[in-house]
Amino acid sequence: MKTIIDLMKYNKILLMGTKRSHKIFMIGLTLFLTLGSLLLPIYAGFAAFIIPIMIASEFSTVEIDHHGELTKAILPVKRSQNVAARSLLVAGVSAAASAVLFIIVLISMKLDFFRSSEILDPMFQRTSKETVVSVIFSGCYALGLGFASRILRNYYRKGVSRKKGATLRNGLKFICAYFGIGALLYLLGTAANFPIIATIIMMITAIVSALAQPMNGLLLCLLILLIGGGLMTYRTVCAMIEYEDREL
């Protein structure tokens, strides 16, 4: 355990070596989204989604700059410990950041800061604002964890990408994926004009709504977070095995 904690410290030091321009971008985006969270819960959801992805993808960028991968090769630790430490750091930092963001969201809800939103307002008519916001927030965080774990797994399986602008491309990919999901939801809504799809959507909506009822959505949030955490754990185990089997 001590080794893992030491490795987490090492990873933290590595992360501090991020380029200034990247630091400014990450801090700027976080600040923008945090301020946005005061007015619209969607911003908080986007922040909870993007923060784990930003941290996970930044590791590969930093390691290109500082040859971190070589450093790891000479450290007297097991490869699996390396993977576990980085995954824990990503999950831990993003959980702490998301917790802070969620508190901001709760405060803004208490103070009625929220602006109306065409997408969210119809949902508020059916269930409480707290439930909708909590479920969306935990869903975004779980999705972010899922993507971050995928980045980490790919990194340990294939190594660092040395192509220029890889981070930017990755970032763009994830932003595209984020909006892609939005578009998919919209298409699903349109597909609801077909009776069979409408019935399936109605059934899924009904069961999700039922699970969201108790304790302001706590049961559904726990389930969503468990899915995100489970995905992270599964991919971390996969990364451990694949990294140990990989020829460096």
């Binding site: 997408i119 939801l185 609801a192 059934m203 108790p214 049961l219 599964y234 996969c238």
Partner: protein, 620 residues
């Protein structure tokens, strides 16, 4: 002179008569709805208020209503008649007087009127035990020995939970008789009769069957002869296949029903007609004009549906009250809404239509609305408030400083209290804190004011035979305190979490196996079976829940219930075996990590087995 005197006298008399008539004229001008809206401004107000819903609905940008038909009346006089939108958007068929809509549960009021007709004829005692009237082997799922009276059926106090099994007729299947339909979809009796108001379609069907047994007539024939024909309701049909009116059946084919959501706008909502086998519970279909005629007959002083005006008075005298007060919440099968004035009636919904019928028997003002849209329907709440207004704090009596003593959590009585859907009731609990601000008026009657103080609702307290205190929030809307609710909800939560967790353990085990790192032992194999059974159990439960939640309360086919029950039994047995293997592993395996894994497996499998047993997932 004499002539002049006569002229002056005549002029004076005319002037006096004119002056004395002025207040009467003024009064006539001031005739208003119970909400305070003057009669002559109804149409203009509706036009302004509902203008936003008259746009191009097909684009889906307006959260309006596919179509509605509405009438407001005062006695025999129709004050407003309006139609908006299309009964078939695709073919642009606008709603009009010939459009037919489904009544939904308003149909049940035909049962209650029939029963009162038989009661006034001395053919049926409201206190009679229906077990003595219906065939001896009719009730198969009774839990209590207490008699079930006719009045219990009218008040939805027969003790039945929500029906699990399908009360509709599958596509193309022959339509069974009412008795056959009831026998094949019997709900379990979960409350002592006469104690708890729990709205039941099945119980209403049993009441209609009682009418059949007393009269020796088919219920649809009885209604046709004793309600529809006397009132001249030629454009209304009751049978599930609408075979009692060719006109209605043909016009019903012109109607479509729609759902609405903010993303896609309007969408067609499945097949055109879905026959309901327990048809007296909600199968009636007809025009707005006929429903208005029926509602007007109910408020009429002439009481055309009854032989005696006393029967009409009985109908509106209240049979169920808030606490021990005289404020009614239910009256011989009719709901009593406490608005600015007490309003009687019923609302209804089928899989594609919604309808509402409300009237004030004192002022004789009433309204009926019908729509072919089942979701996000703004008209549903608009008309009742337009006509009857909202109750204000103080309307039910003077409040004291004593507040309602509440338990932690309440479950709605109208729920799946037994069987595979028992878990759903735990997802719909009402925290006691939501109603703890209600203030006592007297005799178990409380008033709960809204946060803004602009409106209020009454609540009643009722002691049950098991010592619990139930909360009555309206007719057949009773909430029962649930002990250890959070513990039970935690068990359910753990069931879901361990099942989802098990899915990831299976994925990890698969990865380890493929990389040649997995442990090969009997215990490990059995624990894997445990992970699979938990996952299968959860997926089965959610699939079945999705089916019933999507059925709009019509229930599930028996085959689905049997499959689900058998799968849960197998999963329960698998979980118990896996738990035993985990105990074995806990004792035999070495190393804290393996022991911890076995301990977690033991906990997960015990949770799954306990959940399957406690939430009765195995029952069908």
């Amino acid at each position: 002179m004499n002539k002049l005197t006569k002229m002056i006298a005549a002029a004076l008399c005319g002037a006096v008569a004119a002056v004395s008539a002025l207040p009467a004229l003024a009064l006539a001008e001031e005739r208003t709805l119970p909400s305070g809206v003057p009669f002559d401004r109804i149409e203009k107000k509706i036009d302004i208020d509902l203008d936003q819903y008259k746009g191009d609905l097909s684009e889906g940008s307006t959260p309006g209503v596919a179509s509605y038909a509405a009438e407001i009346f005062c006695g025999d006089e129709v004050l407003y008649k309006g139609f908006i939108g299309y009964i078939d958007m695709e073919n642009q068929i606008p709603a009009d007087e010939e459009s037919v809509y489904e009544w939904g549960s308003i149909t049940k009021t035909l049962i209650w009127v029939s029963i009162l007709q038989l009661w006034e004829q001395g053919r049926l005692d409201l206190g009679a035990d229906v077990r003595q009237i219906l065939p001896e082997d009719f009730f198969q799922k009774l839990k209590y020995d207490e008699p079930i009276t006719v009045l219990d059926l009218m008040e939805h106090k027969g003790g039945w939970g929500v029906n699990t099994y399908d009360i509709s007729v599958p596509d193309g299947a022959p339509i069974p008789s009412l008795e056959e339909a009831l026998r094949s979809s019997e709900s379990p009796q979960v409350y002592p009769p006469g104690e708890v108001g729990s709205y039941s379609n099945w119980g209403a069907g049993a009441a209609a069957l009682t009418v059949e047994k007393i009269t020796g007539m088919d219920f649809a024939d009885y209604v046709q002869q004793n309600i529809f024909q006397p009132l001249g309701m030629e454009h209304t049909a009751l049978r599930p296949d609408l075979s009692d009116s060719r006109w209605v059946k043909e016009n019903r084919q012109r109607s479509q029903s729609y759902g609405f959501n903010a993303l896609s706008g309007y969408r067609l909502d499945g097949p055109k007609i879905r026959p309901i086998a327990v048809y007296p519970a909600g199968s009636c279909t007809g025009t707005i004009g006929d429903l208005t005629t029926y509602a007007q007959a109910l408020v009429s002083d002439d009481a055309p549906l009854f032989q005696s005006k006393a029967t009409r008075e009985k109908l509106f005298s209240g049979s169920e009250f808030f606490g021990e007060s005289d404020l009614p919440c239910w009256s011989c099968g009719f709901s009593v809404e406490q608005m600015a004035v007490p309003v009687f009636g019923h609302n209804g919904a089928t899989k594609g239509f919604t309808a509402n019928m409300l009237f004030d028997p004192v002022s004789k003002v009433g309204m009926v609305t019908m729509t072919n849209q089942i979701e996000n329907n703004p008209v549903e709440g608009y008309f009742p408030h337009l006509v009857f207004g909202a109750p204000k704090p103080g309307d039910f009596g003077k409040t004291t400083d004593i507040t309602l003593k509440t338990d932690s959590y309440y479950l709605p009585a109208r729920t799946y209290a037994e069987g595979p859907y028992k878990f759903l009731s735990y997802l719909n609990a009402m925290p006691g804190s939501e109603i703890s601000g209600a203030k006592l008026i007297g005799d178990g009657l409380y008033e709960l004011a809204s946060e803004t103080g602009a409106s209020a609702i009454p609540l009643g307290e009722r002691k049950l035979s098991d010592g619990r205190t139930a909360i009555v929030a309206g007719g057949a809307a009773t909430y029962l305190p649930e002990k250890w609710y959070l513990a039970k909800l935690s068990l359910l939560t753990m069931f879901f979490l361990t099942a989802v967790g098990g899915a990831f353990v299976l994925l990890i085990k698969g990865k380890l196996r493929r990389s040649g790192r997995s442990e090969k032992s009997a215990v490990s194999a059995i624990l894997t079976v445990g992970h699979i059974t938990r996952l299968v159990s959860m997926l089965t439960l959610l699939s079945m829940a999705a089916v019933i939640l999507g059925s709009s309360g019509y229930g599930i086919p028996r085959s689905v219930g049997v499959c689900g029950g058998v799968i849960q039994m197998i999963c329960g047995a698998g979980s118990i075996i896996a738990a035993a293997a985990a105990v074995f592993g806990l004792v035999k395996k070495k190393g804290w990590q393996k022991k911890a894994g076995c301990a977690v497996s033991l906990l997960a499998n015990c949770t799954a087995a306990a959940s399957i047993i406690f939430f009765e997932m195995y029952r069908f």
